[in-house]
């Protein structure tokens, strides 16, 4: 067993000496979450640079030039998003940081908030300045207890030190941060549901338009970004857009925090330039699969999985390539599926998650994803399924594709469809024999 066996050791970036660790450089270091530590390592220089030497428009231009794409999953260009904010008109403007990180396979934001919260605060100061917001919310996943406490502590420290407040970093720019804890709903990571939840409403997604920039939280102009989108900005301002844009592919620039979990030797978070291949991540950094693997989710449980084939392993991990190959980069959370994990059981696990997390607003997700689909899996796994059931499942899942209100239903339906595409033999084996093709189920003991 590797060095990750000890559950108390945080999973941090284990990197290849070829690549510089930027966003995760303080992660895993005891005490790195204090202001003293952060400042002692050059912290807040980037924010100071933005506030004292650049105009908000210049910050936005710099971020645009860096070609940074949002790290929350959809990969929307961040600078462009910021420029959607309406002209200043006296209304309160808001920045919301999406720290709800609830997708199975994603855990990159967590360690930044736990071990390096000041890096996020610094990113928020820059972001607020760019979009001319004086107020930011961090919406943090409810289960992230340690992260919540560290963030609150860091915000208080920063406030006491004059880094946040009416005169942030001694400038005439006002920035303040409220840390808001979620209550355990994956859907609240979807930006419009997040806004509802933040307002104290039920966590259901809202209609778009209006987009958050037009009418976001409390109807006010709002920009929503992921945690590591914000921390990327710290380094873009510090080192320049050219530095960031010099890394990555034509489609996706800079570095990104990739996560890898499942049966690999060294699961964890790895910071790599965009466009590194899955093979590099899985073999060079994570030490390769333990035992035989048969497939992997490329970017979190909502991205359609691939079979274990060279064409997929050698695919560069960037937004466009993945989108063109029928899957998505998502949050960049690779999950390796071992050969002996029965795919039906594995997918049931995924489906149960989405069934549990469906908000219940729209019919295909509430009835198809949340009610019917898990029952079909239960039927199969009980050995009661038939070939007709498989056809039925495919047809029913097709009816949930692209018909739901928000992407959550698709996030379940697409991986299920992919599992049928690549691993139908395992489904067929199960319905023909009444027992799964593989029955090994003791991964945590290995």
């Amino acid at each position: 067993m590797s060095d990750v066996a000890d559950a108390t050791t945080p999973i941090t970036s284990r990197h290849d000496p070829r690549y510089e660790v930027v966003m995760y450089r303080h992660v895993g270091i005891d005490g790195a979450w204090t202001l003293d530590y952060y400042r002692g390592h050059g912290g807040y220089a980037s924010a100071r640079k933005a506030l004292t030497t650049m105009t908000p428009a210049q910050v936005i231009d710099e971020v645009k030039a860096s070609k940074l794409r949002g790290r929350g999953g959809a990969g929307f260009p961040t600078g462009v998003k910021w420029s959607f904010m309406p002209p200043v008109d006296g209304r309160q403007r808001l920045l919301v940081v999406n720290a709800d990180e609830s997708e199975p396979g994603s855990f990159k934001d967590r360690y930044i908030m736990e071990d390096d919260p000041h890096q996020l605060i610094e990113g928020i100061i820059i972001g607020c300045y760019a979009i001319q917001a004086t107020k930011a919310f961090i919406y943090i996943r409810g289960e992230y207890g340690l992260g919540y406490r560290r963030l609150v502590q860091a915000v208080e420290e920063a406030r006491a030190a004059g880094i946040l407040g009416k005169n942030a970093l001694g400038s005439d720019v006002e920035v303040d941060i409220t840390v808001h804890r979620g209550a355990g709903a994956y859907i609240c990571g979807e930006e419009t549901a997040l806004m509802n939840s933040l307002e104290g409403l039920r966590g259901n997604p809202r209609l778009k338009p209006p987009f958050p920039a037009q009418a976001g939280v409390y109807g006010l102009p709002t920009t929503i970004n992921n945690v590591t989108t914000m921390t990327s900005v710290v380094h873009i301002i510090e080192r320049g857009a050219d530095w960031f844009a010099s890394m990555g592919t034509e489609d996706s620039k800079g570095t990104k925090l990739y996560q890898i979990s499942g049966t690999v030797v060294r699961p964890g978070v790895y910071e790599l330039p965009m466009g590194a291949t899955f093979r590099e991540l899985i073999y060079d950094l994570a030490g390769g699969p333990k035992g035989e693997a048969k497939g992997f989710f490329p970017g979190g449980s909502s991205t359609p999985p691939f079979p274990w084939r060279d064409e997929f392993l050698d695919m560069p991990m960037d937004y466009g390539t993945l989108a063109n190959s029928g899957s998505m980069l998502g949050t960049g959370g690779v999950i390796v599926i071992p050969k002996e994990k029965d795919i039906v059981d594995a997918m049931y696990n995924v489906v149960r998650f989405y069934a549990h997390e469906s908000c219940g607003k729209c019919t295909p997700c509430r009835e198809g994803i949340s009610t019917w689909l898990p029952k079909m899996y239960q039927k199969l796994l009980a050995g009661l399924g038939t070939r007709e059931d498989l056809d039925l499942m495919e047809d029913m899942v097709r009816n949930t594709r692209g018909t739901a209100f928000c992407p959550l239903a698709d996030a379940c339906a697409m991986p299920v469809q992919a599992s049928f595409k690549w691993f139908r033999d395992e489904y067929e084996y199960l319905v023909d024999h009444g027992t799964p093709m593989y029955t090994k189920n003791d991964w945590w003991e290995a």
Partner: protein, 826 residues
């Protein structure tokens, strides 16, 4: 914007939803979550269609299809919810292809997997949107073989609404309704995913407008408890009529079966109530079917009232009146009589030669303003509203229209298929612009929770309130003309009269005069004295606001317009009770006051026309069975001056007649063909008088705006109520019928005497105690309700037709525990 729906191309205004475009083009898409007058939310996904649109290139030119040379249509990758998609120039919508059909089949299947399909025992069967849509757009088969979701099937959301949680299809109409229409957020989804269900907080549904959710629920999940399990939809006779519980004039549908009213639903009148009605109007019909309803005339013989035929009764009336001089006879109608009944009463008075004619209750001041009143649409589009009174109880529908104004969305344009199904200007969780609304009342009224400014002035101080506001308006005028003019100066008395800070009052006045459309809503407290009403009118004029006057009963406006009034002040209703030797009273019960009863017992002759053997009927010589408001054909005029039709539902009411029938029978006995002997003949009079045809009113009724002088004012009785220790308040619920409306009785807990806790302690009254008390002479029974919102030294009691809104004196010596314990069901 040009849009092509299947094979039909049409032009639409920007902002139109695709679903409305589809319907306007004559095609259909199924839908569940969209609802007229509410925000579209795109939740049910039933309305999906394939939608495409042309695109422009960077230079702004349409990208052309290489083959056809026409702009190329780019289809959206996913099916679009047509309810939440706006039309675009050149858009193409396909609702008929196999792809669309497949998705529709799938969505019907999803919607049904957890639905119990208990249509055979469901009240909604035959009128169910899910049933219809499943039939039209489903495959007729389900592939779902598992246990369905089991949830509560008879969950009482309140005494009047029952929720079947299994039938719910999660369209969210009911939740949005409460948030968006009355603005009382009392319902929401609980749990999530497949476990989601509808629920309330602990205190049920505290709102005057709860029943509307039973109209808009697309399935049989929310049902009107008063009619649950009482009939199938196709067995009902549906009669469209007008609600007569207040002066709003809401359109209703009366559903009757085998001669009995089973339920009342809201109907569409875009100018008045849209489709909403209040709970009093909806649930307050059960009294009509009470066991003790009079079904035939009664005539006193040897001291006993015994059944008689109409001919016999009419003979008796003729014989007994024959001995009296005309001027000794008084005739009075309750103010929810129809215009036709008013014509009949006038004809009878003329035939008998009496000027003692009136309708009651009639406030001291006129309910027909000198200038044309505001319309409800004016109210709904106003940018500044000042309410004095408790509009939520007086004319509940006006409360809802005020909330339209607070939401700030103008009424939608009608489309070929009617009200837009998905008006994209309406948003979920709307912002209510409370700064547009100011509310003043002597105690805390419900609408205050939506008001940016509130004032609690001393009860009876309406004239002083308006005078003080007028002083502010004049000072502001002076200031506008001359910047050097003194700032507003009010003495202590005037300041106290405002019931709010001077700064608030100044802002209120300024807000009204600076508004483009300001409305002052004048409630019954103001109408209780002529001085207050005059001051209100002067003030409204000074700030350039229209007036909306909340008359006490459904046809107060019309009966005043028609001048169903006395020839002289002393012949008005209270005077005739004293002075006349014979009385014909329709639906009035003055003998609830024992002193009046003693006077009435001395009369030579008393005829009572009513539904029940009231206190007054008991001492009458002749009792004539009356038709309820649901059993009359006729015309009423609401508070805007809008003529609205009443149609009689097919109800078994024995030999009941309305006052038109009474006059017909008496005319026959007198050998005279009186005008108003029938609805037709009465309408001939109305046509001449008002130059509009009551038989031909449009679906929204007709606004009556006379060209010449305003209508003649009715002369008014001179003794105005001033001072008192009880404030008689408006009430949505009709107290006179409350004990015969078992569901409303249970919902409301009966008639309430609201007392300040300190006063209650002093009088030794406990919360919930049943008491009896003489208020202004009238014996009232009520249940004590301790309420810190009631000013000290004042008790609040809901109005009766015999006890008009305003201050009254109660003799506290008569306050006793009620030995007859009010029966409160539930």
């Amino acid at each position: 914007m040009k849009v092509t729906i299947n094979d039909v191309s049409m032009d639409f205004a920007p902002g139109t939803s695709v679903i409305d475009a589809v319907f306007a083009a004559g095609y259909d898409v199924p839908y569940f979550c969209s609802q007229e007058y509410m925000s579209p939310i795109g939740a049910c996904r039933m309305c999906l269609a394939r939608v495409g649109a042309p695109r422009k290139d960077r230079e702004g030119n349409w990208i052309l299809d290489e083959e056809t040379g026409e702009p190329k249509i780019f289809y959206f990758p996913n099916m679009m919810a047509t309810c939440t998609t706006q039309v675009m120039e050149g858009m193409v919508v396909d609702t008929l292809s196999d792809d669309v059909k497949r998705v529709q089949n799938g969505m019907v299947e999803f919607t049904l997997i957890n639905h119990p399909l208990d249509c055979p025992v469901c009240d909604k069967g035959g009128a169910c949107e899910l049933q219809d849509r499943a039939y039209e757009y489903g495959t007729g088969e389900s592939r779902f073989v598992f246990d369905k979701r089991h949830q509560e099937k008879h969950h009482p959301l309140s005494e009047v609404i029952t929720l079947d949680r299994e039938r719910c299809i999660h369209c969210k109409r009911c939740v949005r309704y409460f948030e968006e229409v009355p603005g009382d957020g009392v319902l929401d989804f609980i749990e999530r995913g497949g476990h989601t269900y509808i629920g309330t907080l602990e205190d049920g549904l505290p709102s005057n407008f709860t029943g509307n959710i039973t109209d808009i629920c697309p399935v049989g999940a929310l049902l009107d408890t008063t009619s649950r399990f009482r009939g199938r939809n196709w067995e009902y006779d549906h009669t469209r009529s007008t609600g007569m519980d207040d002066a709003g004039g809401s359109a209703i549908v009366i559903d009757a079966r085998t001669g009995r009213i089973e339920r009342i639903k809201g109907a569409l009148n875009p100018e008045v109530n849209k489709t909403w009605i209040d709970d009093g109007t909806r649930f307050g019909h059960e009294y009509v079917d009470a066991d003790d309803r009079l079904r035939s005339p009664l005539v006193r013989k040897d001291g006993e009232l015994v059944p008689a035929t109409w001919e016999e009764a009419a003979q008796v009336v003729r014989d007994r009146l024959g001995g009296l001089s005309g001027k000794d006879i008084g005739i009075a109608l309750r103010a929810d009589a129809t215009l036709e009944e008013g014509v009949a009463a006038k004809a009878l008075a003329e035939a008998l030669g009496t000027g003692q004619l009136d309708h009651a209750p009639r406030p001291a001041a006129s309910v027909v303003p000198q200038q044309a009143p505001a319309t409800l649409t004016d109210l709904a589009t106003a940018d500044a509203i000042f309410v004095v009174g408790d509009v939520t109880e007086e004319v509940p529908i006006a409360d809802l229209r005020i909330k339209d104004a607070l939401k700030g969305v103008t009424p939608p344009e009608m489309m070929a298929h009617g009200v837009p199904i998905a008006d994209l200007r309406l948003k979920e969780h709307p912002v209510f612009h409370r700064e547009r609304l100011s509310v003043a009342a002597p105690y805390r009224v419900d609408l205050m929770k939506h008001a940016g400014r509130t004032a609690s002035y001393p009860a009876g101080g309406e004239a002083a309130l308006f005078a003080a506001l007028q002083a502010i308006a004049e000072a502001q005028d002076a200031k506008a003309e001359d910047a050097e003019a003194a700032a507003v100066q009010l003495d202590d008395g005037q300041r106290a009269a405002l019931g709010m800070s001077l700064a608030d009052a100044e802002a209120l006045v300024r807000g009204l005069r600076e508004a483009d459309n300001a409305v002052v809503v004048i409630g019954g407290f103001v109408l209780a004295t002529r001085a207050a009403a005059a001051a209100a009118a002067t003030f409204a004029k000074a700030v350039g606001a229209k007036q909306l006057i909340l008359g006490p009963m459904a046809n107060s406006y019309g009966l005043e317009l028609l001048h169903v009034g006395p020839s002289h002040d002393r012949y008005a209703y209270p005077g005739m009770l004293e002075g006349a030797r014979a009385l014909i009273l329709s639906n009035l019960d003055p003998a609830q006051d024992p002193d009046v009863r003693a006077t009435l017992e001395q009369k030579d002759f008393l005829v009572v026309h009513d539904l029940f053997l009231t206190e007054t009927a008991k001492i009458a010589d002749v009792v004539l069975p009356a038709r309820s408001v649901y059993e009359r054909d006729g015309t009423t005029v609401n508070l805007e001056g809008r003529f609205l039709p009443l149609q009689a539902a097919p109800v078994d009411a024995g030999e009941s007649e309305d006052f038109v029938g009474v006059v017909g029978a008496l005319g026959d006995a007198l050998g005279q063909r009186l005008e108003g002997r029938s609805v037709r003949s009465a309408r001939r009079v109305l046509r001449k008088r008002f130059e509009l045809d009551p038989a031909e009113l449009g679906p929204s009724g007709e606004l009556y705006r006379p060209k010449g002088r305003p209508a003649p004012r009715v002369s008014i009785r001179s003794d105005e109520a001033v001072g008192g220790n009880v404030l008689v308040t408006p009430s949505m619920l009709r107290v006179e019928y409350l004990e015969r409306n078992p569901h409303l009785l249970a919902l409301s807990g009966g008639s309430r005497l609201r007392v300040n806790p300190a006063d209650a302690a002093q009088h030794g009254l406990g919360d919930g105690e049943a008491v009896s008390l003489r208020v202004g002479g009238v014996v009232r029974r009520a249940r004590v309700r301790l309420d810190a919102g009631v000013p000290a030294g004042l008790m609040l009691l809901p109005t009766l037709p015999e006890q008009p809104v305003g201050l009254a004196h109660a003799d506290l010596a008569t306050l006793t525990r009620d030995e007859r314990e009010l029966e409160v069901a539930g």
